[in-house]
């Protein structure tokens, strides 16, 4: 409760401490052990309340350590010699400024000598910080991308957005670690968001899903985005398909152990996952998977999913295959190659590349803080921003592109979507984490290249 009007100010009066040390004095050392010394006797408390009421103050609440009182500014001035000045309280999240009345510095001492012998002094409420993260990333000394603008620019989404194609009416799901969409970055942009699993929650202890959703929303800012936590992948897929009726599913995850490649390990669970995804595709849902950051997951190589690899674009706009991203020929699905198309991904050693909003103090926030780029991101451990990427970041960018295609061409099927995604920016330099080289036209490292939103939506 802050004092926003001189007509009624609120203050806290401390009644004489039974231990003999004034709670406002420099000698007071307050802890769980010593706090009983700062409680008041019932007699002192009763007498102080009587005195305050006789002077015209309203006693609002009597607590064990203080008495909350209120009255007009004139009363505090007359009875306690206080004067007040106006401060402005800025709220970065809502971009509003509220007035706040506080005692002037030169009258603060008077508040410790109130003329009421049972009182040690009074204190006025002060503003506190909620530690809400900023809606913009911190300034960093190294080259990196910011959402949404840099992602929109590099992937050529601006002309499509300018034509009013922004994903409205397309239902998109993201299956990931969780979604902290109360972050000021999202709140300030009025996205259409719903955490669907677990219903109504906004938790993301890891931070990954929160950050990756910003990549998708950069490209498709008006899609209806449903967040599904990946506690049980099958459940998430079923809910997206059977309950939410989504048209696009973005998946920045894969099997923990390789499930493709020469040493792929298979559990019957993955057969059911494969079948659930096949059922999604049968029902017309476009399913996209990250191609991997050095791993080989069957989720990316399934013939009916779109696998997304990584391309790095430097400060001069030069493109090269990300050496952080996977590329492989499937052994589980002969003839299939990962990736099919690419989004943006950083480079070795840690692919620290895109500043993304995440829950303050989440795992990614803490893990990436501290040391210098390129090993860590140099952001604060609890600032609600992390700089990261991987093909996790690339997949939602392409998923957002698919949402724009479906927004403009509602009847587009998987084949048409694929054909449109192939109109990508050709990447001819660099190599993938597996050593495949980029080259003119289709290549093993980047597939058809870096997605070109404008061309995909023509």
């Amino acid at each position: 409760m802050l004092n926003e009007s001189l007509d009624r100010l609120t203050a806290y009066a401390s009644v004489r401490s039974r231990g003999g040390i004034n709670v406002f004095s420099g000698r007071a050392t307050i802890s769980a052990e010593t706090v009983p010394e700062y409680l008041s006797t019932p007699d002192d408390k009763r007498s102080a309340i009587d005195n305050l009421q006789q002077k015209g103050f309203e006693v609002e609440r009597v607590g064990p350590l203080s008495v909350r009182i209120s009255g007009p500014a004139e009363l505090f001035e007359k009875q306690m010699g206080a004067a007040f000045e106006r401060q402005e309280l800025e709220d970065n999240a809502s971009r509003t400024v509220s007035p706040l009345w506080v005692p002037t510095v030169d009258t603060t001492a008077n508040l410790l000598d109130t003329g009421i012998s049972e009182l040690e002094g009074i204190a006025f409420p002060k503003p506190v910080t909620l530690h809400a993260p900023s809606s913009t990333p911190p300034a960093l000394r190294y080259y990196h991308l910011k959402v949404p603008d840099d992602v929109v620019r590099i992937l050529n989404a601006d002309p499509v957005h300018a034509d009013g194609v922004r994903g409205r009416g397309v239902r998109t799901a993201m299956i990931d670690s969780g979604f902290h969409w109360s972050h000021t970055y999202f709140a300030s942009r009025r996205y259409d968001l719903e955490v669907s699993l677990p219903a109504g929650s906004d938790n993301d202890a890891n931070g990954h899903g929160t950050g990756e959703s910003a990549n998708l929303l950069a490209i498709a800012p008006e899609t209806n985005l449903y967040g599904l936590a990946m506690v049980d992948i099958i459940r998430a897929v079923q809910v997206a398909r059977d309950n939410l009726g989504v048209q696009v599913i973005s998946n920045s995850w894969g099997s923990r152990a390789d499930t493709d490649g020469p040493n792929g390990f298979w559990d019957p669970y993955w057969t059911l996952v494969q079948a659930e995804i096949a059922l999604c595709v049968r029902e017309g849902i476009i399913v996209l998977f990250s191609g991997g950051n050095g791993g080989m997951s069957f989720t990316a190589s399934m013939p009916e999913t779109i696998s997304v690899g990584g391309v790095y674009v430097d400060e001069e706009g030069e493109m090269q295959a990300s050496d952080y991203a996977s590329s492989f020929d499937s052994t589980r699905f002969p003839g299939q190659h990962v990736p099919e198309v690419c989004g943006l991904t950083g480079m070795q050693p840690e692919a620290i590349y895109i500043a993304l909003p995440i829950p303050p103090g989440c795992e990614i926030d803490r893990d990436l803080s501290g040391l210098s780029f390129p090993d860590k991101d140099e952001t604060d451990a609890e600032d609600g921003w992390g700089v990261f990427s991987g093909t996790s970041a690339a997949c939602p960018m392409v998923a957002g592109t698919v949402a724009l295609i479906l927004c403009k061409y509602p009847g587009a099927d998987l084949e048409e979507v694929r054909e449109r995604l192939r109109r990508a920016q050709d990447v001819t330099e660099g190599h993938s984490s597996m050593g495949d080289s980029a080259g003119p036209d289709y290549d093993s490292a980047t597939g058809h290249g870096l997605v070109n939103v404008e061309q995909a939506c023509i």
Partner: protein
């Protein structure tokens, strides 16, 4: 991944149903959007299996054309399906996962409708940093 001592907390499992083409895990063709429907169970079979699972004490979480998600204690699963479970702790997963160390057997009264019982396996997010 380290095998750990079991607990009696309920765990999630997926009871995979049989369709016209039989069981998914016994399929001799790759599962695809073109053939997956042949592995879905009819609504009548889904309901029959749901009822049987509930009668066995399982908590049914979700019924889909391909499978029924249940929660049950490891002991319930082992006793019903005559298998043996092993708990796996994964440092980067929010929850521990389980695997069959002795494969499950489908009881006779379910064997014409149920293919197998699978347990959620570890995933990883494809992030950097």
């Amino acid at each position: 991944m380290n095998p750990q001592k079991r607990s009696s907390e309920p765990i999630r499992a997926h009871v995979v149903l049989k369709g016209k083409a039989g069981g998914l895990t016994a399929a001799d063709e790759p599962i695809s959007p073109e053939n997956v429907e042949a592995y879905t169970a009819s609504p009548r079979v889904r309901e029959q299996v749901r009822t049987q699972l509930e009668n066995l004490g399982f908590s049914v979480q979700h019924v889909s054309p391909l499978s029924i998600a249940v929660e049950a204690t490891p002991e319930q699963l082992e006793n019903t399906f005559d298998g043996q479970l092993e708990k796996i702790e994964n440092p980067n997963q929010p929850a521990s996962t389980w695997r069959w160390s002795k494969s499950p057997k489908i009881p006779g009264d379910l064997s014409d409708k149920v293919d197998t019982v699978v347990l959620p396996q570890p995933t990883r997010i494809v992030s950097s940093g």
